[in-house]
């Protein structure tokens, strides 16, 4: 019975870690994405940085962050920071693609009718880009659920605790106790966010 409570506790810990990381990455990614639609010159640099972050092997990224003062160290905070860096690119890229993909005639009409920049953003660009942006959030969420298992390597907790324990003791039951719930969460997130995406204004 205690095993089940442990699975349950670590599952909740895992989910909360993912929610916090994806929440921060979404806020940051969408804001940054909007800013970049207004500043074409910065696009290459920011997308390049976010792209490079994704190419760093995740275990290495977690490791690199440990010695960094203030933001690094052992524990959940460092783990969340690494997850944010991973989740940023899909949200950022999709925000940019979604907004830049708004029909030029629609944008021109919005300007020509005397909408302010803010009105164009909130009433035209974001609604029309919402599906694409949400698809980015979905991809970020699903990958973060998987990557978050590595957080256990630097003391971040979550379902990775079972996996690392199982690896150390060559106990596949332990590995499955971490892997199966993680896979289930990922499937649920994929299904749920996919459903919301389809519900959004069918344009």
């Amino acid at each position: 019975m205690t095993q089940f409570t442990e699975i349950w506790d670590l599952t909740l810990e895992h989910i909360s870690m993912v929610l916090i990381a994806v929440g921060i990455a979404s806020g940051l990614g969408i804001a940054l994405g909007i800013a970049l639609t207004r500043r074409p010159g910065l696009r290459r640099w920011v997308l390049g940085f976010a792209g490079v972050m994704q190419t760093v092997p995740s275990l290495a990224l977690f490791g690199f962050l440990i010695p960094i003062p203030l933001i690094g160290g052992i524990g959940k905070r460092t783990a969340i920071l690494a997850l944010v860096l991973y989740a940023l690119l899909p949200v950022l890229r999709n925000t940019l693609t979604g907004i830049l993909g708004v029909d030029a005639a629609v944008r021109e009409s919005a300007v020509a009718m005397g909408m302010t920049e803010r009105q164009i953003l909130w009433e035209v660009e974001l609604p029309l880009a919402s599906r694409t942006i949400l698809a980015g959030v979905r991809v970020a969420t699903v990958t973060t659920i998987g990557t978050a298992t590595i957080a256990a390597a630097i003391g971040g907790g979550g379902l990775g605790v079972f996996i690392f324990r199982g690896l150390a003791s060559v106990d596949s039951a332990q590995i499955l106790a971490g892997a199966i719930p993680a896979a289930c969460i990922a499937l649920a997130a994929e299904g749920g966010l996919g459903w919301v995406e389809r519900k959004l204004s069918p344009v």
Partner: protein
């Protein structure tokens, strides 16, 4: 032929181009355009693709600013207007319509009145009135989305949207260019009826000489960024010049 304000009469010009030029790098798009558009007239800017007519049109609502010279609306240069305020006083209709796909017809047409802070009841009344005027029965069309309309219906909704806040000036950029010939003819007739009854000042860009003859009170012919001729449709039939003759040949 020089551009004078023939037909403008004693009334002040609603829109005026004062020695307007526009250049992108070394490419001269418009050269020394001088033109006055009187209140209530329909000026058609006729020309080939690349003649500068669309650029000239976009200067009126400040989508493009001249590199030299000034465009005045109601006597004030566009550079001195608050562009948001200016644009809400100018209706704009383009070939691709640009209706908001996520708004119903009702919200599309009522957009500028809403931005201007009209009461909802007044917006609803105005929206229905305009749709009825353009032969789109409001009870059938108000709640539709643009994707549920045909090309001609979309264009009429675009016209209704431009008229919504009762702007004194209307700009049309080849609005009927993408329509089939039958629909185009219907909507042109409708345009004539509406523009005559409303007395708006319209500037209309087209490459179709027949359309120009049908709709214009004056035709301004642009070629290579220069105003070649500025005459009434009846004088257009007698006017001289290679470009005029080229366009007249299209009248058949």
């Amino acid at each position: 032929m020089t551009a004078t304000d023939s037909g403008a009469g004693p009334r002040p010009a609603q829109v005026e181009f004062r020695d307007v030029s526009y250049r992108i790098g070394a490419k001269q798009i418009l050269s020394h355009l001088n033109l006055k558009v009187a209140a209530g007239e329909t000026l058609v800017l006729l020309g080939r693709s690349g003649s500068g007519k669309t650029t000239a049109l976009k200067m009126v609502n400040g989508l493009v600013q001249p590199t030299e010279g000034q465009v005045l609306v109601e006597g004030k240069p566009t550079t001195e207007w608050d562009l948001v305020r200016l644009r809400r006083r100018i209706g704009y209709v383009i070939q691709d319509v640009g209706l908001f796909p996520h708004f119903t017809v009702s919200r599309n047409v009522g957009l500028v009145p809403r931005l201007e802070g009209w009461e909802p009841a007044r917006i609803d009344h105005r929206t229905s009135e305009l749709l009825a005027m353009l032969d789109l029965p409001p009870d059938q069309y108000l709640q539709r989305y643009p994707r549920q309309l045909s090309g001609g219906q979309r264009q009429r909704v675009g016209v209704a949207r431009a008229l919504a806040a009762d702007p004194p000036v209307l700009l049309f950029d080849e609005p009927f260019g993408a329509l089939d010939p039958v629909t185009r003819q219907e909507i042109q007739q409708q345009f004539l009826r509406v523009s005559q009854s409303l007395g708006k000042t319209s500037i209309f860009v087209t490459h179709d000489a027949r359309e120009a003859m049908l709709l214009a009170t004056r035709i301004g012919l642009l070629a290579g960024g220069r105003l070649e001729t500025l005459v009434s449709p009846s004088d257009f039939l007698q006017a001289k010049g290679a470009e005029v003759e080229a366009f007249r040949a299209c009248l058949g």
